[in-house]
Symmetry: C2
Subunit: 285 residues, 2 copies
């Protein structure tokens, strides 16, 4: 039982965009799909959801070929791009069309979210701001009766309170009805506590697939007063740092367990620092 992506390749003209992509999406799991701008995330999501055809490779759902099997494709969902909606369609019409297409819709949760986000269901899609277009799309994604749900940058343009509301809604619906969500995002730290598996793609290849726990255990965050911390971390493999008030945190890869002076605290590695380091280009160093 899984959604298996096998040896997917895709190129446009002479440019290779996806190379030998292999991912086995397990049921009832929350995935984070991370990658730099231009890494191939959106192309991969479009291939998995039959909006673009791959040049090579296969995609199977529970062992059956997904491509050209409409019944199976209805068990997989990807948030729409803006230009896939008719121009004058209204918010509530979009929801009804979704229900008709997927044979069901969680109206109770949708209406709860419409109210919480203050989305006006009578507005036409084209009148929605960037933030509210994202809100409509994430409401649909959380309410379709589908086993594998892909969200491409669901918090694009969302303010801080609305981002928080989305994360809580995701946890709520997942707890009630576990299913697989794959979330592509650039705000890595914000989703760090939701996600159990991270897939990192760079230059069209999967360069890492690890549990959030394994990544966080592959190093450490060393925090405390600036002088104290900077003295302690000498010679360590520093991959990033942050300030919080007058305190600093340094992110250390391959941290060795050791005795720690008073005033310094050790905690799991920061995911964003790990990702930035892993995908850094030569000229950015």
């Amino acid at each position: 039982m899984s959604l298996a992506i096998q040896h997917i390749e895709k190129s446009y003209r002479n440019q290779q965009v996806l190379t030998d992509i292999q991912i086995d999406f397990q049921p009832e799991t929350l995935y984070g799909l991370l990658g730099r701008n231009g890494a191939g995330k959106s192309t991969l999501l479009n291939v998995i959801n039959s909006r673009i055809f791959a040049d090579k490779g296969s995609i199977t759902l529970d062992g059956e070929n997904l491509i050209e099997n409409e019944a199976l494709q209805n068990r997989v969902f990807l948030t729409s791009e803006d230009n896939l909606y008719p121009k004058s369609i209204k918010v509530n019409q979009v929801l009804k069309l979704t229900e008709a297409f997927y044979g069901g819709f969680d109206w109770v949760f949708a209406n709860h979210l419409i109210k919480a986000f203050k989305l006006n269901p009578k507005l036409s899609f084209k009148k929605l701001s960037t933030g509210y277009r994202s809100i409509l799309k994430l409401i649909i994604a959380l309410c379709v009766p589908v086993d594998y749900i892909f969200l491409d940058e669901p918090i694009l343009g969302l303010d801080a309170s609305h981002r928080d509301l989305f994360y809580r809604a995701l946890i709520e619906t997942y707890s009630e009805r576990p299913r697989t969500f794959v979330i592509s995002t650039h705000l890595i730290e914000e989703v760090a506590n939701l996600i159990s598996e991270f897939i990192i793609i760079d230059g069209g290849r999967v360069i890492e697939q690890k549990s959030a726990e394994d990544i966080q255990q592959s190093g450490a965050t060393v925090s405390g007063a600036k002088e104290l911390v900077e003295d302690f971390i000498q010679g360590m493999n520093i991959i990033g740092m942050d300030r919080l008030g007058s305190l600093v945190s340094y992110y250390i890869k391959d941290y060795q367990q050791q005795e720690v002076p008073d005033g310094i605290s050790i905690s799991p590695l920061n995911l964003q620092a790990y990702f930035v380091k892993l995908t850094q280009r030569e000229e950015e160093k």
Copy 2:
């Protein structure tokens, strides 16, 4: 000498979107424009840039009426929305059109940024991903020969390294040729150190206009080990909190100077926490 927005009102059908907006944009200043989703930010930016007409009020540039004065309007720039570009236009054509329209363009800096961001100038606009559309728009905004530049969510869809690259490019071009930038964004903490003046709008009104320094001085961040901090802040006006490793930071409004126990550090107030609290709705409390 300023770009003065006076008593601007705007409504759509029966809904008031902007109410008595008064802002005096000073020359050579970096502004942050903050607001919840739906607060009216994009409408305001469109009104200032003559893409939408206000129902009431006036906009003057150095004392002269901006509306219907094309020569003056060329001194004010707003990043374009996607649907304003012809579908098949290529990246380098967009740049050349911008130069023709504004009578100049900083090609040296533009080419430097195109390389740094790895933007392919031969691609057509519609083939660009969300992130690369943002990158094209911010390159244009940083290179037009204009005195007042408005950027509507310039980092939409940008990865962490690219966001950092943008912030550094903004500082670089501003230092060389000071002019006014007005940046609307939802990633408040990331721009906190760049911006000198914040304008906060909510429900279509300017609810606050303050220097970054004044906001940060209107409270404090109290950081340290969890138990120690939570003991110390009892009875204070808590507006938010964050964790960093095993440390916590509480954001306190109207903090009173006082003696502080060892192990606790006091620093300026967190801007995002301040903003979230200021614009929180009754049902979100």
